[in-house]
């Protein structure tokens, strides 16, 4: 028993010693430039980041990220991440930024260094299409049971309105809840709703009705990273010379674009 205890102690010591190693370089920008590649954490999310027929990542966010990396003089690498682990991926340096239509919530701004907002978005209510007429204002929602992504802006909005809400894993699961009838309605963001419900999608029987709030998209970097500042400058420049607008028009999100 004593030996076992001694072993456990020595293991703990080795681990804590190992934890002392390594040192952060001062500037995140220098780190990325040394590495020669900007690793962008994304999820497959049309029209922001998605693959074209040649397996290339395209989309409004992907194209802007490519242009930003070029302005830094580094290559760009897109990596699909588990959205729940985005802060861990950033802090663990497996990615350098989260650039994927990320809503600037308190959770996001407190754990990341965020760029200025570049796109508007809203949280909308999803209901079965045949009942859509009944739910066109906030008062009509009070007896419904909702599903929303855990930790999302939609969930926060439902809580603020004091509505019944089941937190689920992601927005797609929230939609599945409504389709399966396990929840009466769901709250997801409007860009996604436009792509995912209605004609020609797997959710032909669903539709979206009213918007609950408006929100903004931003890009997240490691806490205290100087890259956020560099991106703000890049956004301002490319807004001024019209390339940002051009890119937005290519992916039909120009209406949501925010002036830089």
């Amino acid at each position: 028993m004593k030996k076992l205890f001694a072993l456990m102690l020595s293991c703990a010591m080795v681990l804590s010693l190992a934890a002392c190693g390594g040192k952060d370089s001062d500037s995140d920008m220098e780190y990325v430039k040394d590495k020669g590649v900007l690793t962008v954490g994304i999820t497959d999310f049309e029209p922001m980041d998605y693959k074209d027929d040649n397996d290339e990542w395209i989309g409004f966010d992907a194209d802007m990220a490519k242009a930003f990396a070029e302005s830094l003089g580094v290559d760009v690498e897109f990596v699909e991440i588990d959205w729940d682990n985005k802060v861990m991926e950033l802090d663990g340096k497996t990615i350098d930024c989260v650039w994927n239509g990320m809503t600037l919530t308190d959770e996001v701004t407190s754990s990341m260094e965020c760029s200025n907002a570049y796109c508007n978005n809203a949280q909308v209510v999803i209901v079965p299409a045949d009942k859509a007429d009944e739910y066109q204002d906030k008062d009509s929602l009070k007896d419904l049971s909702f599903a929303a992504e855990a930790g999302s802006a939609g969930e926060a909005e439902l809580e603020a309105l004091d509505l019944k809400c089941t937190p689920v894993k992601d927005q797609a699961t929230a939609l599945m809840e409504v389709a399966a009838g396990t929840s009466d309605a769901a709250v997801i963001d409007s860009l996604m709703a436009a792509a995912m419900v209605g004609e020609g999608t797997g959710y032909e029987d669903l539709t979206y009705t009213i918007g609950l709030n408006s929100e903004e998209y931003g890009v997240g970097f490691r806490k205290d990273s100087d890259l956020a500042e560099a991106l703000n400058k890049f956004f301002a420049d490319s807004y001024k010379d019209g390339t940002m607008k051009e890119c937005a028009e290519k992916y039909k999100v120009q209406a949501a674009l925010i002036e830089q």
Partner: protein
């Protein structure tokens, strides 16, 4: 139904890509965990006490914590705590980290099966070998190991089939295996968005593959039946 038929080729294509990742992880785990498990089994049976305590401690930690947490620790610990992201952010790094986690985890389970198999061989056989003048090495390889292999096939089959399904846990570090590929269609991927059925469709892949494995392992078990 029309939509389903239109989407099927795209979905099957994407799921096949995901399933290849699943299979790669499955076979690499087996290749790594079979020998490592045997080494751990020897360690825990060692007469050198510190070694056997150490291996038992490792087995306790690995079997006592969820594989999902182990994946997160192995992938994120180097970057988060040691400030040295050894795995990198790319697909290869994620696959390597997942392989290491799975090999370690399964080797610990295998080691206990090996230990049961080795210790289950009656002591009389070893004594008989000694009387016949065989060396310890000969006894182990020609008497014990052969019978151990026969004994461990049923419990091993269990673990192997569980492993096929456990590979889906690797999605937590964004390894794009088949469940990931199926789930991607719920948001939107390959021009199809809001499709739920691909996720459920992945079950068919698992079912068929496990069916083939069950047949093969059953055949192996019958082949090894010559001891009775």
């Amino acid at each position: 139904m029309e939509l389903f038929i239109k989407q099927l080729p795209t979905v099957v294509g994407a799921l096949n890509v995901g399933f290849i990742q699943t299979l790669k992880l499955f076979f690499i785990t087996l290749i790594g965990a079979f020998p490592l498990g045997l080494i751990i089994a020897f360690g825990s049976m060692s007469r050198f006490r510190p070694l056997s305590y150490l291996t038992k401690l490792i087995v306790w930690i690995v079997r006592g914590t969820p594989l999902m947490i182990q994946l997160l620790i192995i992938y994120f610990f180097p970057g988060l705590v040691l400030h040295n992201p050894i795995w990198g952010g790319g697909e290869t790094g994620r696959f390597l980290a997942a392989s290491v986690s799975f090999i370690l985890n399964y080797a610990c389970y295998f080691s206990e099966i090996y230990r049961g198999g080795i210790q289950g061989v009656p002591i009389g056989q070893e004594e008989a070998g000694l009387v016949l003048g065989m060396t310890r090495k000969q006894i182990f390889f020609k008497v014990t190991l052969l019978q151990m292999i026969k004994r461990i096939v049923p419990p091993m089959s269990n673990e192997i089939i569980t492993l096929v399904k456990d590979t889906s846990l690797a999605r937590i570090i964004a390894l794009q295996e088949i469940i990931w590929a199926g789930q991607a269609f719920m948001k939107g991927s390959h021009g199809i968005s809001g499709a739920i059925w691909p996720l459920f469709f992945t079950a068919i892949y698992y079912l068929i593959f496990n069916g083939i494995l069950t047949l093969l392992l059953g055949r192996l078990e019958r082949k090894l039946d010559y001891f009775r």
